[in-house]
């Protein structure tokens, strides 16, 4: 059901991990619907020098996170903001219909990370809106058994 590219990015995700003292971190999605994405950015002179992700979710969620990080690495903030979910999906040779929301989540995670970077540095980026929802409801701290 997944394209070869999706499978490739799922099994060999690019840029997976964390960045210590990241310049921007964005987390979107929620455990309720089973997808959470977190993107870390290292920004120098308005250019994304490094980007990492962590994702809890299905194969498509991992693959779209991975592809999104590839697409923005080395780009300016403005260029990164122009990358849409459709571009991420296209770069993966398409996604099954039921998984298109995963690519949207990748776009949102990226925007959330850029928003965080902008906030920390007192930069106003035109058109950039704050992340829709905060997932830090600490749902993961619920009882194990």
């Amino acid at each position: 059901m997944y394209s070869e590219k999706v499978m490739d990015h799922f099994t060999n995700p690019r840029n997976m991990g964390e960045i210590e003292n990241a310049d921007g971190v964005g987390t979107v999605g929620n455990a309720k619907c089973g997808d959470i994405m977190r993107i870390y950015l290292k920004v120098e002179n308005n250019v994304i020098q490094d980007v990492r992700f962590k994702t809890f979710g299905c194969g498509a969620a991992v693959a779209t996170s991975s592809m999104a990080t590839e697409l923005v690495k080395g780009k300016t903030i403005q260029q990164a903001l122009e990358i849409t979910n459709a571009a991420v999906a296209e770069a993966l040779d398409g996604l099954p219909k039921a998984k298109v929301h995963c690519s949207l989540l990748a776009e949102e995670a990226l925007h959330a990370a850029i928003w965080d970077y902008a906030q920390k540095n007192g930069i106003v980026i035109e058109g950039l809106e704050p992340p829709k929802e905060d997932i830090h409801e600490e749902e993961e701290d619920e009882d194990e058994d």
Binding site: M16, A31, G34, I36, M37, K54, F56, G57, G59, E142
Partner: protein
């Protein structure tokens, strides 16, 4: 090509060679329509009635109480909507549980939209229905209790005999979806006090596309499919003779060595469950530890998502299943896992393996060997795990 390890027998099973051989003549040689009058069709007619006898005997029923259907889902729909229609003058209340198969739940929801009242019983943390709640839910207008025999996801076996007794005492009909139970645990309709029961052929090494509704002779059962006079005028349509013959053969074979085979699978089940829980931290067994199907293991792995897990297992040649939303096309994880009280993100990370006759101890070892690094890999990717580690040192 790597070898496939099939651990999804609750989804479907292969047709056994002997079953296939029993079916084959009815496709080509003895293809007559059982309703035809000439002698050539008598082979089909006879095979059909012999199959009915075999299945009746298998569940302790009378031949005339067996109705062939196209699936377990059809049997569930017929039982529920059929009773609702026939007993409407007596009442409009139906009792079921929150962990039923969708064939039952969606049939009940349909009836709710058409003037019926449905009570969905809670289950405890092991998935067992609350019998006190059942008793207190029964009222004058209650016409049917429909509670599954064994759960398809978590394997929990319900106290069917107790439910049968309660139903009888209160004069309410009792239907059970026994699709997952047949061939694994003994099923006798009189012993259990069941009035209606659903069976599906392909869950016990029979063919797909054929099922059974058992309805006690005292149950007023109206026609569900209108047509010819087949199935005592209650289920029109030329009978699926090869399918029915195959299902009967499969039941005969399954019951012949059930005790032995169930014991073998139960041992494998407990072995693999313990190995997984021992090797993988932050994992828990879902469903009752003992009152469960001999072939079902359902484990939740915290911080990871089920579909990812299934794809990675698939790449190792292992076929399994999950209660994750992503495997069902909806956003919500399994209603069964939510009903036993799992938080969403833990419900998303569930793995169901269901053993079969071909399953071996080597398969279990292969599964565990594959599973450990996959869970580690997915956790390394998981922001939930990252937060957990940071918060808990």
């Amino acid at each position: 090509m790597k070898e496939t390890i099939y651990l999804d027998h609750a989804a479907t099973t292969p047709v056994k060679q002997e079953v296939l051989e029993a079916m084959l003549p009815f496709f080509t040689e003895s293809f007559g329509n059982p309703s035809s009058i000439y002698s050539f069709a008598q082979d089909s007619k006879q095979a059909l009635e012999e199959a009915r006898e075999t299945i009746a005997k298998g569940i302790g029923a009378l031949d005339r109480e067996i109705y062939f259907t196209g699936s377990g889902t059809e049997a569930d729909n017929w039982a529920i909507k059929g009773v609702a229609e026939s007993y409407r003058s007596k009442g409009n209340h139906i009792i079921t549980s929150k962990v039923e198969h969708h064939a039952v739940l969606h049939a009940c929801e349909y009836l709710e939209k058409n003037g019926f009242e449905v009570t969905y019983l809670d289950v405890d943390a092991d998935g067992i229905v609350d019998l006190e709640q059942l008793k207190s839910s029964i009222k004058d207008t209650t016409i049917l209790i429909t509670i599954m025999f064994a759960n398809n996801e978590i394997g929990t076996v319900q106290p069917i005999r107790e439910i049968g007794r309660i139903a009888k005492e209160r004069g309410v009909l009792f239907h059970t979806d026994a699709v997952q139970a047949i061939g694994h645990v003994p099923v006798d309709v009189n012993d259990l006090g069941v009035d209606l029961l659903s069976i599906s052929g392909h869950k016990f090494y029979g063919p797909k596309g054929v099922g059974v509704l058992y309805a006690r002779k005292t149950v007023k059962l109206k026609a569900f499919i209108h047509g010819g006079g087949q199935e005592r005028g209650r289920r029109g349509g030329t009978e699926n003779v090869p399918g029915i013959v195959g299902m009967a053969k499969a039941m005969e074979l399954a019951l012949a060595d059930m005790e032995e085979e169930s014991a073998r699978q139960r041992e494998l089940r407990d072995y693999v469950k313990e190995r997984i829980l021992e090797k993988v931290p932050y994992a828990r067994l879902n469903g009752h530890p003992e009152k469960r199907l001999p072939n079902n293991v359902n484990i939740s792995f915290r911080f990871i998502e089920g579909e990812s897990l299934l794809i990675m297992l698939d790449m190792k040649g292992i076929c399994a299943s999950s209660g994750s939303a992503c495997t069902s096309g909806s956003l919500d994880p399994s209603h069964v896992l939510l009903a036993i009280g799992l938080p969403h993100e833990i419900a998303h990370g569930s793995l169901r393996i269901s053993l079969g006759e071909s399953s071996t101890r080597e398969d279990m070892d292969t599964l565990v060997e594959a599973l450990v690094p996959i869970v580690e890999k997915l956790r390394a990717m998981s922001p939930l795990y990252e937060d957990f580690v940071k918060n808990n040192g």
